[in-house]
Symmetry: C2
Subunit: 357 residues, 2 copies
C-alpha cells in the first residue's frame, strides 16, 4: 500500500494561519494533507475551507509540520515522531528549547518568518511563504538527507531557506523581533500613561511614533510563551538595550554633542542599508518620492504605476518624527524602474531611484 503510486502525504498539527497556509500550499502542489488541531472546531473549519484533505494525523506522512502554540511544540513533535514514520519539522518562533527537548534524527527545527501572529485559518493563503525567509536549525544529530527533504519542501512553498544554529536563531530573533515588540509596548505604555494626564499628547503623536509602536497592536497572547521559551536571549538583548539607552542618556545629560551625533549617524547609515524589504536585490529598485500630505497622492502614484503595468513589490511611507509629510518608498522591478522614474518626473514628482543589486 505505502509503495503504490499516489500523492505525497503530509500532516499538519495546528491548523491556524501558518499551519493552514502550509496545507493550502502543499495541496496546491498536489499533496494529500491531513490536519489536526487542539480545537475540534478549528480542524473542522480547516476541512471546510479546503486547507486539509482529512482530519487527523496521517501515519504515512512523509513530513509533518507542527504549527501549534510554541509551548506545546515539543510534545506535539514527539507525538508526530511516534505516530508517523516520516520527517517532522515545526514552525515555532523559538528554537533552542524545542531542539533541546527533541533529539531525533527525524526532527528538523524550523521557523518561517511570515505572519505568525495574525488571524486564524480564515487568513490562510497558499502564497503566505512566497519570498519569505524560512529558518531551519539543523543540529549535529540531524540526518542530512532529512534536512534536505525539509529544505526542498520549504522551497516548494516559495520560501528561501536560511540555516542557523538554534541558539543563534533565538539570539537574532530576540534582536529583530522579540525585544522590538516589548519596546514598542513599553513606549506605547508610557505614552498612554502620559495621555491620561494630558489628552493633547495623542494629537502630537505623528507618523514616526505610529511607525514605532505599530507592532504593539498585534495579538499579545502569543508573547508569554515566546518570552518563556526565549528568556535568556530576550533578557540579554533588553540588558544591551538598557545599556545603550543609558549611554544615550549620558550623552544627552552631559551634552556630549559629538558622541550623540556619531551614534545617530551610525544608526542612520545602518537603517539606510536595511533594504525596504528583503527580496532578490538584483531584481528590484527602490524609488523614493517626497510626497505632500494631500488626499489622493498615494492613489495617484499607485494608479499611475498600474497604468504603466509596473508591479509594486512593496510600499512604505517614511514619516518624519514630527508630522505626517513623508517620503513614499516603492520597490519596483529593476527593468522598469527608469521608465517609471521618467513618468513620475513628467507627472511633477521628484523621485530618486536606488538600485539595490
Amino acid at each position: 500500500m505505502a509503495d503504490s503510486p499516489g500523492p505525497q502525504r503530509a500532516s499538519i498539527i495546528g491548523t491556524g494561519l501558518v499551519g493552514g497556509s502550509i496545507g493550502l500550499a502543499l495541496r496546491a502542489n498536489g499533496w494529500h494533507v491531513s490536519g489536526t488541531d487542539l480545537e475540534p472546531a478549528a480542524e473542522q473549519r480547516a476541512l471546510e475551507l479546503g486547507v486539509i484533505d482529512a482530519i487527523g494525523l496521517d501515519p504515512n506522512s512523509a513530513i509533518t509540520f507542527v504549527a501549534s502554540p510554541v509551548r506545546s511544540i515539543p510534545a506535539e513533535v514527539q507525538r508526530a515522531l511516534s505516530v508517523t514514520t516520516g520527517i517532522v519539522t515545526d514552525v515555532g518562533s523559538v528554537k533552542a528549547s524545542v531542539v533541546a527537548a527533541v533529539s531525533n534524527p527525524r526532527f528538523v527545527g524550523g521557523h518561517p518568518m511570515a505572519g505568525s501572529e495574525q488571524l486564524g485559518v480564515e487568513g490562510a493563503t497558499p502564497d503566505l511563504f512566497e519570498g519569505a525567509v524560512w529558518v531551519l536549525t539543523p543540529v549535529a544529530d540531524t540526518d542530512s538527507d532529512h534536512y534536505s527533504v525539509v529544505a526542498s519542501v520549504v522551497r516548494l512553498l516559495g520560501a528561501e531557506v536560511v540555516a542557523l544554529a538554534p541558539d543563534r536563531h533565538d539570539a537574532l530573533v530576540a534582536v529583530v523581533s522579540h525585544v522590538p515588540h516589548l519596546t514598542a509596548a513599553a513606549l506605547m505604555g508610557i505614552a498612554d500613561e502620559r495621555a491620561e494626564e494630558h489628552v493633547a499628547l495623542l494629537r502630537l503623536a505623528a507618523g514616526g511614533f505610529r511607525d514605532m509602536t505599530r507592532i504593539a497592536a498585534g495579538t499579545p497572547t502569543i508573547w508569554p510563551d515566546i518570552c518563556a521559551e526565549n528568556q535568556d536571549a530576550i533578557v540579554d538583548v533588553i540588558d544591551r538595550l538598557v545599556v545603550e539607552l543609558g549611554d544615550l542618556r549620558t550623552m544627552v545629560a552631559d551634552g556630549q554633542r559629538d558622541r550623540l551625533l556619531a551614534t545617530l549617524e551610525r544608526a542612520q547609515q545602518a537603517r539606510r542599508n536595511l533594504p525596504s524589504r528583503i527580496v532578490h536585490p538584483a531584481e528590484v529598485a527602490e524609488i523614493r518620492i517626497p510626497v505632500p500630505d494631500r488626499d489622493g497622492v498615494i492613489a495617484d502614484v499607485t494608479t499611475f504605476a498600474s497604468e504603466m503595468a509596473i508591479n509594486i513589490a512593496d510600499i512604505e511611507i517614511a514619516h518624519s518624527s514630527e508630522g505626517d509629510r513623508g517620503v513614499l518608498i516603492l520597490l519596483v522591478d529593476t527593468v522598469r524602474a527608469e521608465a517609471f522614474r521618467i513618468g513620475l518626473v513628467e507627472r511633477g514628482y521628484r523621485p530618486a531611484v536606488q538600485y539595490l543589486g
Copy 2:
C-alpha cells in the same frame, strides 16, 4: 506709509523646508514675505523659487516666523523683536528654553508638527501645514491679542492650533518624538552590531523591525540641538523607559506570564485607540484589509479606490513582527466607506470598517 493700504507683510528667518513652506503659504494668501537665512545661497534660492518676495528682515512685518536651527532661535527672536515692530513667533521643536530666554509680550512660541527634519527649501510646499497640529505656547506675559493674531495666521496656513504650556509641550514631544527617535537609533545600533557577527540577522529583519527603526534613517544633525534644549524631559522619559524595560525584563526572567500578558494587552489597547492619523474623526473611517504578500495588491486596492472616486486620506501597512504579510489600513471618507467596503468584498477582499467618530 505703514497705514496705506497694501498686502500684509511678514518675515521669515530661516528659509529651509518649514520657513520656505510658511513663505509659500503666506504668499498664496496674498501676503508680502521677506526672508533671510544664515546661508546667502539659501535666501537667494528661496527668492528664485518664489518662496519669498524679497531678501531681508522687513521692519514693517506684522509677524515674523523664526525657523532657524533650534539653538539659534532665542538670538534670532531677539533680533526680530528689535528690528520689527510686529509679533514674533518661532517653529522650534523645543519650547521651554526659548520661552524662558525671551520674555516679551510680542513673542509667542510655536511648533508646527510637520516635516521638521526633511529636505531644504526645495521641498517647501504651501500645503505642508494642511491638517497638521501647530502647538502654540503662550505664557503669563503673552499679550492675548498677539496670541490671537498668531493663532489666526497659523489657521490660515491650514493648521490646527493646540495651546500648551512650554514645559508641557516639551514633556509631550519627549514622549512621542524625541525618545522614540533615540530608541529607534539604539535598536538599530544593536542590530547593526549583531549583524557584523552574523549577516543573516538582516535577512530576518522583517516588517515590524523596519517600522520600528524607520525614523532612525532621518537626518541626525538636528538632534544634538534638540537633545541639548530638551535635556531634562528627554532624560526623564529615558529613565521612565528604562524602568519600564526593567519591569518587562523581570516579567520575562521570572516567568510572570500574567503580568506580561496584562502589560502587552494594555499597550495593544492603547495602540489600537491611536488613530491611524490624527484627522477629524467624524469624517474618516478606518478600513483594515488583510493582504497577501503578493505583487500588485496595493496597486489593486488603491486603483480600485480611485476608480470609485474615494480619496485615501492615509495608508499604512501593519506588518506582523515576523514576516511581511500584513493588514492594509486605509483612512477614507466616512460617507463613502460602506460603498468601498462592499466593492472590496465583491473584489474578493475581507475588509473590516471602523468608524472613528
